[in-house]
């Protein structure tokens, strides 16, 4: 009778419960009237409900629990019955008269419990009889529950050491044997479930089996609770016996669950002392068993144990835990040729975590693990499996997390080899992890060798790997990554200039392989890092004799020049221009005129040839002017050339306002505050006048095209320049000129064609206020401003 469906099952359960309750009712009546005969009759009938085959384990459990409760009452009754003079031995026989085996055995176990408590027979004999008799139930579910019942009623009655049921010298053995036997039989029944019933119900069956697994596992728990099971007993008897059963049952679900159970229920120190035996079982398990999870959990437990107290660490050394685990994993991987790479990697990852916890001082162990992993990976090629890659990341992150120091990790010679086997995506992830670790811990990486190794590790970020173009790389992610690299470059620092130069060369070598997309991110930090070196080299006593081959600012600048050139190919002319200007300024500080001139030349060439966008030009010209203004290294000729060029560029800007602003900015090129030889008031005035002309032209153009003259902002700005130079003492700029400019602006503002511009008005007003303020200051300044009327 095949009945599927939850509904039907509910019905069967309800019927079972009803039958059970009815008989329980009659049983209670018999118990109340001390009627042993009826008690036995109705209890047997009640228990007959458990003979059903129609319930799933879950439902059967519900029925079982009800019967269990009733049996407790019956047990009490039996106990009273013996007090009333009924011999327990007779009772023990009497219940065996029941014709049906299942009720008979439940009753037998129940009386057995009373029998042991009576101590009329040694507990071990009764237990042995019970566990033997239970063989009569060969049906997996019914057998498991019956034996579970036996286990339940016997738990507190084992002839354990110190228990009131303790027997002769061999008592622990008896207790152990009983539990082991019950465990073995239960496991057999449990495994057998797998092979009964039609193949199409495999999934359902596996689900049912997993619902029942704790019944089996409970026995191991009971074993672990036996006082008398000390390390020796565990090592000599318990573990070998349990493992024998686990290995021999050849069942995937059971092996996986029970191995885990063993690991979880017995104490850590037992595992440590029996590692060899325990590990020896792993290669014998079925190939489909998820060994990696189980072994990982073992290593996790041991790691935690090691972490719990430093006192236990010598134990680990004493039993050579690492080499045993290492061997075992090797064997498992060897034995299970079909194990997915994920499994192997997970195992290595766990082992690495373990050794990092237990032997933090043994880098060679960690390296050994990585080496083994490389060996395994080498047979596989690049990883495709997502989860395996994740595990690799975990594996590679573990040493970083532990040591918080990439320098230590770089000592692991196999570390980079492992990185070889991950795809470029993962390589990037890993590289990010490494960089973040460096950032977080502010790790000093101070030699070129280490830098070389490091960049080899993070090459996923440095360049495109395997030539694969990743078009769909997220732009934000890419920026994030490259910014990280940039930050990393800034972290590299060594006070020894020779070494630092080497570091820079190493970094340069790597980043130049990065291609046009990366260079704009990586070149600037390198440039600034180099400039920092230059400043270091400028130290007062720095190497006066210029030892052959030693690092000089010149050499650095040469390198810089070449480095910045690489941006041409990107192309990133604006960036290159900025960097040239930075370098020029640094060369200026180093008093290297030709170098500075060269940098300017490069910047000008870029300006002329590469920067065509008018807005970019405006920015560039202002940068050029700003930098040039601060240069003091140039001789008159060079300076003239550069200044002249700059002024020329300014006048050729496209938009009039831009032109105007660039030109008046140029005025500063001829007036450098601290240097008297660079104060050419006439040319300043020329620039300003030219700016005025341009502003005027802009006004007119505006008037012609739009019918309004537009803002007076430009005039106000020029006015400010006038005031500035006037104040600086440029004799070419006099009060009259300022006065006439003010009047011009005022007139403009009042003209009909002027469109109102509050910002310009405010700007003008505050400029006038400033002049007013200066006038009222009195003294020399006040006197100077006196002629200006506002």
């Amino acid at each position: 009778m095949m009945v599927d469906g939850v509904e039907d099952e509910e019905k069967w359960l309800a019927a079972g419960i009803a039958g059970l309750q009815q008989n329980a009712f009659y049983m209670h009546r018999a118990l109340d009237s001390n009627n042993l005969r009826d008690a036995l009759k109705y209890s047997a009938q009640m228990l007959s409900e458990l003979r059903t085959s129609k319930l799933s384990p879950q439902k059967y459990y519900q029925l079982y629990m009800r019967a269990f409760d009733e049996l407790r009452k019956l047990e009490m009754f039996f106990k009273e019955e013996t007090r009333r003079g009924c011999s327990i031995i007779d009772l023990y026989e009497l219940v065996q008269h029941a014709g049906n085996i299942l009720p008979r055995l439940y009753l037998l176990c129940t009386v057995g419990s009373v029998y042991i408590k009576s101590k009329e027979a040694p507990a071990k004999d009764v237990l042995k009889d019970l566990v033997e008799m239970c063989r009569g139930i060969q049906h997996p579910v019914r057998g498991l529950f019956l034996r579970s019942y036996l286990s339940q009623i016997s738990r507190d009655k084992l002839p354990d050491i110190g228990s009131e049921y303790e027997g002769d010298a061999d008592t622990v053995n008896d207790a152990m044997e009983f539990v082991l036997q019950n465990f073995t039989e239960m496991n057999k029944l449990w495994v057998r479930m797998q092979h009964q019933g039609p193949a199409r119900e495999k999934d359902k069956r596996e689900k049912e089996r997993s619902e029942l697994r704790d019944l089996v596992g409970k026995n191991l728990h009971v074993l672990s609770q036996i006082e008398g099971v000390d390390l020796d007993t565990y090592k000599e008897t318990v573990l070998p016996r349990v493992l024998e059963q686990v290995v021999n049952c050849k069942d995937e679900i059971a092996q996986c669950y029970l191995m885990d159970c063993i690991i979880q229920v017995f104490p850590d120190e037992y595992h440590l002392q029996t590692l060899e035996i325990l590990l020896g079982a792993f290669p014998q398990l079925q190939p489909s068993v998820d060994i990696k999870t189980v072994l990982s959990r073992l290593m996790e437990r041991l790691s935690n144990y090691a972490a719990s107290s430093t006192e236990v660490l010598p134990e680990f050394l004493q039993v050579e835990a690492f080499s045993k685990l290492n061997n075992a994993i090797g064997k498992v991987i060897e034995a299970q040729a079909d194990m997915p790479i994920l499994g192997a990697v997970t195992l290595y990852s766990s082992l690495l975590t373990f050794t990092l916890h237990v032997h933090p001082d043994r880098l060679d162990y960690a390296d050994q693990v990585l080496g083994a992993c490389v060996k395994k990976l080498s047979g596989e090629g690049k990883l495709e499996d997502n989860r395996a890659t994740k595990q690799i990341v975990a594996l590679l992150s573990a040493p970083l997390d532990k040591y918080n120091d990439i320098v230590t990790v770089l000592k692991l010679s196999n570390y980079p080899s492992v990185m070889e086997y991950v795809d470029s995506e993962t390589n990037k992830v890993m590289a990010m992890v490494i960089i973040q670790s460096i950032m977080k811990n502010n790790t000093q990486i101070s030699t070129a060798d280490k830098v070389e190794a490091l960049f080899e590790l993070i090459k996923g970020l440095i360049r495109d790997l395997d030539g694969a173009a990743h078009d769909q790389v997220d732009e934000d992610d890419f920026k994030e990554e490259q910014n990280s690299v940039a930050r990393l470059i800034q972290m590299l620092q060594n006070d020894d200039t020779e070494e630092m130069f080497k570091i820079i060369c190493t970094v340069r070598k790597h980043i130049l392989t990065g291609g046009p997309k990366r260079l704009p991110f990586t070149v600037p930090p390198l440039v600034f890092s180099s400039l920092k070196l230059v400043r270091q080299l400028q130290g007062p006593e720095e190497n006066p004799f210029g030892e052959e081959g030693s690092t000089t600012p010149k050499k650095v600048f040469q390198l810089l020049n070449q480095t910045i050139e690489t941006l041409y190919g990107v192309p990133a002319p604006e960036l290159a221009l900025r960097l040239y200007l930075q370098c020029a300024e640094a060369a200026n500080d180093s008093d290297l005129e030709p170098v500075a001139y060269e940098f300017f030349t490069q910047a000008y060439i870029l300006y002329e040839e590469e920067i065509s966008d008018s807005r970019a030009q405006v920015t560039a010209i202002h940068l050029i002017i700003g930098t040039l203004q601060r240069m003091h290294v140039f001789g008159v000729e060079n300076r003239d050339t550069l200044t002249h060029k700059a002024t020329g560029y300014s006048a050729k800007l496209l938009k009039k306002p831009d032109q105007c602003r660039a030109v008046y900015a140029c005025s500063h090129l001829f007036w450098v505050d601290d240097q008297d030889n660079m104060k050419d008031g006439e040319r300043v005035l020329l620039c300003l006048k030219r700016a005025l002309r341009i502003a005027n032209a802009a006004q007119q153009m505006s008037n012609a095209t739009r019918g309004s003259t537009g803002s007076v902002t430009l005039f106000v700005e020029i006015l400010n320049k006038y005031v500035y130079f006037f104040e600086k003492g440029n004799t070419q700029i006099n009060a009259a000129a300022i006065q006439s400019l003010i009047e011009l602006i005022t007139a403009e503002m009042q003209s009909d064609s002027n469109s109102p511009d509050p910002a310009a008005d405010a700007f003008f007003a505050s400029t006038l206020r400033y002049i007013q303020f200066q006038k009222q200051k009195g003294g020399a300044v006040g006197e100077k401003y006196e002629p200006i009327k506002v």
């Binding site: 008269h97 299942l102 063989r135 139930i137 057998g143 057999k188």
Partner: protein
């Protein structure tokens, strides 16, 4: 009894009492009419003695042609109703013909009576022992009174009592080996044993051990065989696999067994069998029947 006699209005009442009636063990005995009465229990070669008292009714005198008591061992076949075969018949004359005026008592004794067979109440046959008192009368019929008693003969434990061990099976389908610890069991004995599964290719649902009684009566063409299953004891629930060993422990005391009887007076035999039955999921039965001997032993009463 008295009521029945009263109904027929016999001339006198006869009562039979045993000499050690107060101390002797009484056992239940099922009568033909279904009633169970308690009767004394004897063994072979015991002395059976007691007293008969005859009391005329209503003070009348009773004329008779003599008073006798017989001890009869009878076998009664139900299909041959009315025919008793007396395998034992002993007679004691108690009185010569005469008249009885008042209650009169006669002692009687059968010493060391051979009673080789045990009382048996079967489906088709009955073996009984009875004391029969007859007051012979020429007219009006004789007055007869019966007193049943039960005979049980204890046998000492057999000196040879081998276990029953056997391997049976169906080729490539099922091979089992079973063992019962003895071949002869007393009535309160326990059958201990085990079944070992050597090969299991069928899906077994359960396994029972049955105790069967085979009663055969008559001989030759008139043989009647009656088989009853007295016990059906489940040994195993579910399907075992190769290598499993299932224990047997069957207490005989709850069942109404008798000793094995072999060819009692050429009239009948009662034999016992242990029938091991395996039932598969299609309710097919596979069984193996083995004879065991049941005997009564003094042990069982201690």
């Amino acid at each position: 009894m008295n009521y029945l006699i009263g109904a027929f209005k016999p001339a006198c009442n006869i009562s039979i009492t045993f000499a050690d009636g107060k101390n002797r063990k009484q056992v239940p005995l099922k009568k033909e009419n279904g009633q169970t009465i308690m009767v004394p229990l004897f063994q072979s070669q015991e002395n059976i003695s007691g007293k008969i008292s005859i009391e005329p009714v209503l003070g009348k005198k009773v004329e008779h042609n003599g008073v006798k008591i017989e001890l009869l061992g009878q076998i009664e076949m139900y299909f041959d109703r009315g025919n008793f075969y007396d395998f034992t018949s002993l007679v004691r004359e108690l009185d010569v013909p005469g008249e009885i005026y008042e209650r009169k008592t006669y002692p009687f004794e059968f010493s060391t009576v051979e009673m080789p067979y045990e009382t048996y109440n079967g489906v088709n046959v009955r073996l009984r022992y009875v004391l029969k008192v007859t007051v012979s009368r020429g007219y009006g019929g004789s007055v007869v009174e019966y007193q049943d008693f039960v005979v049980r003969n204890y046998t000492p434990p057999p000196s040879i009592n081998n276990s029953i061990k056997m391997e049976v099976g169906i080729e490539d389908c099922l091979h089992i080996e079973f063992e019962y610890n003895k071949s002869k069991y007393h009535l309160k004995d326990v059958i201990i044993g085990k079944i070992y599964f050597l090969l299991v290719r069928i899906k077994i649902k359960n396994m029972d051990l049955e105790i069967r009684r085979r009663e055969s009566t008559g001989s030759g063409a008139n043989t009647h065989v009656e088989t009853e299953t007295l016990a059906k004891f489940e040994l195993m629930d579910g399907a075992p696999v190769r290598g499993e060993s299932i224990p047997i422990r069957l207490f005989l005391s709850p069942y109404e067994l008798t000793p094995t009887h072999r060819n009692i007076n050429n009239k009948f035999s009662v034999k016992y069998y242990l029938n091991l039955v395996l039932v598969d999921e299609e309710d097919r039965r596979y069984f193996k029947q083995q004879e065991i001997t049941i005997y009564s032993s003094c042990e069982e009463n201690t």
